[in-house]
C-alpha cells in the first residue's frame, strides 16, 4: 500500500511528462496542461499521504525497486527512501509544482510551444523527486543531473531569441543563459562526483545508511575532503559565490520556471544535500563553519545587488540567492532542521512572489523594468495583495512564514557565538525588507510610468489567481507549524536547541531583527512609496554602479575565464588538433589508400596469376609453420 504510494508520487510526473511529449510538436492543446496538472496533483496527494503516514508512525519507508548496477563489489540498487527529510521535500516540491503547472496553463496561453513546456516541466519534477527520494548517492546524482538538464531546457525555452549585448540585456539571450547555467553546474558537479568517489573509495558503498554508519571509522582528512567536495557540488546547484552568476541569468526562462526551479525547488537541492548528509557535515566542523560563513556572505552579497536592480525578476532572483545563503548559514551552524524549515517556508513565498511577477509581466507585455511600471495597484488588485503578502513574509514581519524561519536562523547565529555572522544576517534582513518593498512600491504604488495610451494592464485569469491562493495562505500561516515541524523532523535530524541564555533574550533578538526589517520597509516607503524620484547623484555614485553591475563579476568572468579559454581553445584547435591529431589520422588513411592503389595491380583477372599468388602464399604459410614448429 505505502510502496504503491511511493511509486505513484514518483512516477506520476514521469507519466505526465511522457504524455505531454506525445503532443510536443503539435499546437497548443489545453487538455495537455490539464492532464499534466492533474497527474502532478496526484503526485502531491500521494506525497501528502506519505507525509501523514511518516508523521503518524515515525517510521521511514524504504523500498528497493530493482538492482541497477551490480558489478564485482559495487552494488547500487534503485532504492527509494521516504523519511522525514525526503517526505518534507516531496510535499513541498509537488505542491509548488502542481500550482506552477496550473499557473502555466494561463501564463503560457499564447505560446506556440505550450505542450513542450509541460513536458519539460513535468520531467523536471520527476528528476527532482528522484533526487530527494533516492536512498543512495548515485541515485541522488542521477536526479541532480536530471534537474540540471531540465533547467537547461527550460531556461533556453525561447531559444530562438538572438544574442544581444550585455548592456542591452545582462543575460545576453535565453540560450546563452541556459548554457551558462549548465556549464557552471557541470563545474560544480565535478566536485560532487569527486566527493562521491571519495566516499565509495573509503566506505565501499553509496547507500546513505551504510555510509553514515561507517563515518566514525574514517580519518579526519578523508571526511574533510568528502565534505568539501560534496559542498562544491551544492554550491553550484544552489548558486553560491563564486558560482552564483547563472541564477540571475536563468531569469531568461519563462516565469513559471523561475518560480518552480530557480526559487522553490532545484536551487534548494544544495541545501538538501547538506541536510541529507548532515552526519558527515556535523563531524567536519571546519567545513561546516566555512559553509555558514559563505552562506552569510552570500546572503549579504546578493541582497546588496538586489538593492539597486531595476529588473523585477532579477530582484527576486537575488533575493533567492540571499535566502539560500541564510539556509546554508543555518545548516553550517548545525541547525539542519531550521534550514529545512526555512527552505520549505521560502519555497512557498518565493514561488508566490515569482508567480505574481509573472502576472505583472503578462499585464505589462513582458516589460520587466520596475522604473517603467507604477500604479498597477488598481488594475491588479489580487496580484498586489499576493505580492504584498509574499514580501511581508520575505521581510520577516510577524507572523508570516518568513518571520519564524529567518528569525530562528539569526537566533542560531547568536547562539553559536558567531557575532559577526549574526550582525551581517541582521543587516541583511533589513536590506531584504528594503528591496522587497522597493519593488512592491515601484510596481504597484504611485503614478503609472508606462504609456497609458497603448498599454492597458489587466488582471490575470481568475483560475490562475485561485491556483495561487494556497501559496498565499501558506506564506501567511506556515510559520505556525514550526513547533510541530520541529517535533516531526528531529526524529531524524539532530535537534538544535538554543542555550538557556539565548532563550532568555530571544525576544530582544527578535525585536532587533524586527526593528531593522521595519525600518527597511519604512525607508523603502519614504523613498518610493509616492512614486519614483530619480536621484542622479546617487545613481552615478561608484557604489550604486558597482551594485547595479553585480560587482562587475560577469564582466570579470568574461575577461579572465571566457576570453582566455576561447583563445586557448582556438590555439588548441588550429595547432594541436589540426596539425597533430588530424595529420596523424589523415596520414594513416592516406597510407592505406596508397598501398591499396599500388597493390591493385595484383588483380589482373587472370586465373593463372591468382594461382601463382596462391602458391606463393601456401609456401609462405608452410615456411612459417615449419619455423614455428622448430621453436616450439
Amino acid at each position: 500500500m505505502m510502496e504503491g504510494l511511493v511509486y505513484i508520487a514518483l512516477f506520476a510526473p514521469f507519466a505526465s511528462s511522457m504524455f505531454a511529449a506525445l503532443f510536443g510538436m503539435s499546437e497548443r492543446k489545453i487538455f495537455v496542461g490539464v492532464i499534466a496538472s492533474s497527474l502532478l496533483f496526484l503526485s502531491f496527494v500521494a506525497s501528502a499521504m506519505l507525509a501523514f503516514y511518516v508523521y503518524g508512525t515515525g517510521n521511514a519507508i524504504h523500498v528497493t525497486m530493482m538492482d541497477w548496477i551490480s558489478a564485482g563489489d559495487l552494488a547500487i540498487p534503485f532504492g527509494f527512501l521516504v523519511d522525514q527529510v525526503s517526505v518534507t521535500m516531496m510535499t513541498v516540491v509537488t505542491l509548488v509544482s502542481t500550482i506552477v503547472h496550473i499557473y502555466s496553463i494561463g501564463y503560457m496561453d499564447h505560446d506556440k510551444s505550450f505542450n513542450r513546456f509541460f513536458s519539460y516541466l513535468s520531467a523536471f519534477v520527476f528528476s527532482m523527486m528522484i533526487l530527494v527520494m533516492s536512498d543512495n548517492f548515485a541515485g541522488l546524482f542521477i536526479g541532480w543531473e536530471g534537474v540540471g538538464v531540465c533547467s537547461w531546457l527550460l531556461i533556453g525555452f525561447w531559444y530562438h531569441k538572438p544574442d544581444v549585448t550585455r548592456e542591452e540585456n545582462p543575460s545576453i539571450s535565453p540560450s546563452w543563459a541556459a548554457n551558462e547555467a549548465f556549464i557552471m553546474n557541470r563545474i560544480a558537479d565535478l566536485g560532487m562526483l569527486i566527493g562521491i568517489f571519495i566516499i565509495y573509495w573509503n566506505v565501499g558503498s553509496l547507500q546513505y545508511d551504510v555510509v553514515f554508519a561507517s563515518l566514525p571509522n574514517l580519518s579526519g582528512s578523508v571526511l574533510n575532503a568528502a565534505a568539501i567536495a560534496l559542498f562544491i557540488g551544492a554550491m553550484g546547484k544552489s548558486a553560491q559565490f563564486p558560482l552564483h552568476t547563472w541564477l540571475t541569468d536563468a531569469m531568461e526562462g519563462p516565469t513559471p520556471v523561475s518560480a518552480l526551479i530557480h526559487a522553490a525547488t532545484m536551487v534548494t537541492a544544495g541545501v538538501f544535500l547538506v541536510i541529507r548528509a548532515n552526519p558527515l557535515f556535523s563531524v567536519t566542523p571546519e567545513v561546516s563553519y566555512f559553509i555558514a560563513a559563505l552562506g552569510t556572505f552570500v546572503a549579504f552579497f546578493a541582497a546588496s545587488m538586489a538593492l539597486v536592480n531595476r529588473d523585477l525578476k532579477r530582484i527576486i532572483a537575488f533575493s533567492t540567492l540571499s535566502q539560500l545563503g541564510y539556509m546554508f548559514a543555518a545548516a553550517g551552524l548545525g541547525a539542519y532542521w531550521i534550514a529545512l524549515f526555512h527552505l520549505a517556508a521560502h519555497a512557498f513565498f518565493k514561488a508566490l512572489l515569482f508567480l505574481g511577477a509573472g502576472n505583472v509581466m503578462h499585464a505589462m507585455h513582458d516589460e520587466l523594468d520596475i522604473f517603467k511600471m507604477g500604479g498597477l495597484k488598481k488594475a491588479m488588485r489580487w496580484t498586489y495583495i499576493y505580492m504584498g503578502l509574499a514580501s511581508l513574509a520575505l521581510a520577516g514581519i510577524p507572523f508570516f512564514a518568513g518571520f519564524f524561519s529567518k528569525d530562528a536562523i539569526i537566533e542560531t547565529a547568536w547562539n553559536e557565538g558567531t557575532i559577526v555572522l549574526w550582525a551581517i544576517l541582521v543587516l541583511t534582513a533589513g536590506m531584504t525588507a528594503f528591496y522587497s518593498f522597493r519593488q512592491v512600491f515601484l510596481t504597484f504604488h504611485g503614478k503609472a510610468r508606462y504609456d497609458e495610451a497603448t498599454l492597458h494592464p489587466h488582471e490575470m485569469y481568475k483560475f490562475v489567481l485561485i491556483a495561487m491562493s494556497p501559496l498565499a495562505i501558506l506564506a501567511m500561516i506556515a510559520g505556525f507549524g514550526m513547533g510541530g515541524f520541529e517535533h516531526f523532523i528531529t526524529k531524524l535530524l539532530p535537534d538544535y536547541h538554543m542555550s538557556e541564555h539565548t532563550h532568555h533574550i530571544a525576544w530582544l533578538l527578535g525585536l532587533i531583527v524586527l526593528v531593522v526589517a521595519v525600518s527597511g520597509i519604512v525607508l523603502a516607503y519614504k523613498k518610493y512609496g509616492k512614486g519614483l524620484k530619480r536621484d542622479e547623484k546617487c545613481e552615478n555614485s561608484f557604489i550604486y554602479r558597482l551594485l547595479a553591475n553585480q560587482y562587475y563579476i560577469p564582466q570579470l568572468y568574461t575577461e579572465i575565464i571566457t576570453k582566455p579559454y576561447a583563445m586557448i581553445s582556438e590555439h588548441m584547435w588550429k595547432d594541436i588538433d589540426m596539425k597533430i591529431v588530424d595529420t596523424t589520422v589523415d596520414g594513416i588513411a592516406k597510407f592505406l589508400y596508397r598501398s591499396g592503389d599500388s597493390t591493385r595491380k595484383m588483380q589482373t583477372g587472370n586465373l593463372s596469376n591468382y594461382l601463382n599468388w596462391m602458391a606463393v602464399g601456401s609456401v609462405l604459410l608452410l615456411v612459417i609453420a615449419a619455423i614455428s614448429a622448430m621453436f616450439v
Binding site: K601, T604, S608, A615
Partner: protein, 100 residues
C-alpha cells in the same frame, strides 16, 4: 628394396610436376590435368603410408579422392564446354575479364 621413402619421393616429384603445371600452363584444360596429377600424387603417398602402417584408412581415403576427383572432372568439363562455347577459347589470358 623399395621402401616408403622411395614412394614418398615419387609422390613429391609428381606433386611438383602438377604444381608447375598449375602455375605455368595457360590452357584451362591443361590446368585440370595438372590438378589431377597433383591429386594422384597425394593418392600415392596415402597408399604408401597406409601400407607402411598396416592401416587401411589411408587407402580408403585414396578411393574417396579418386571418386571426388572423377565427379569434379565431370562438373569441370561441363563448365569448360560452356566457357568454350561462349568465348571460343580456353586460354586464361583471353578469359581475363575482371581486371582490377
Amino acid at each position: 628394396m623399395i621402401g616408403l621413402t622411395h614412394y614418398l619421393i615419387v609422390s613429391a616429384i609428381i606433386f611438383s610436376i602438377g604444381l608447375v603445371g598449375v602455375l605455368r600452363r595457360r590452357n584451362l584444360l591443361m590446368l585440370f590435368f595438372a590438378t589431377e596429377v597433383m591429386l594422384n600424387a597425394v593418392n600415392i603417398a596415402f597408399a604408401a603410408i597406409s601400407h607402411y602402417y598396416n592401416d587401411l584408412t589411408g587407402q580408403m581415403f585414396a578411393f574417396f579422392i579418386i571418386a571426388i576427383a572423377a565427379s569434379e572432372v565431370a562438373v569441370g568439363l561441363g563448365l569448360l564446354i560452356v566457357l568454350y562455347k561462349k568465348y571460343g577459347s580456353l586460354d586464361l589470358d583471353d578469359l581475363a575479364s575482371m581486371k582490377g
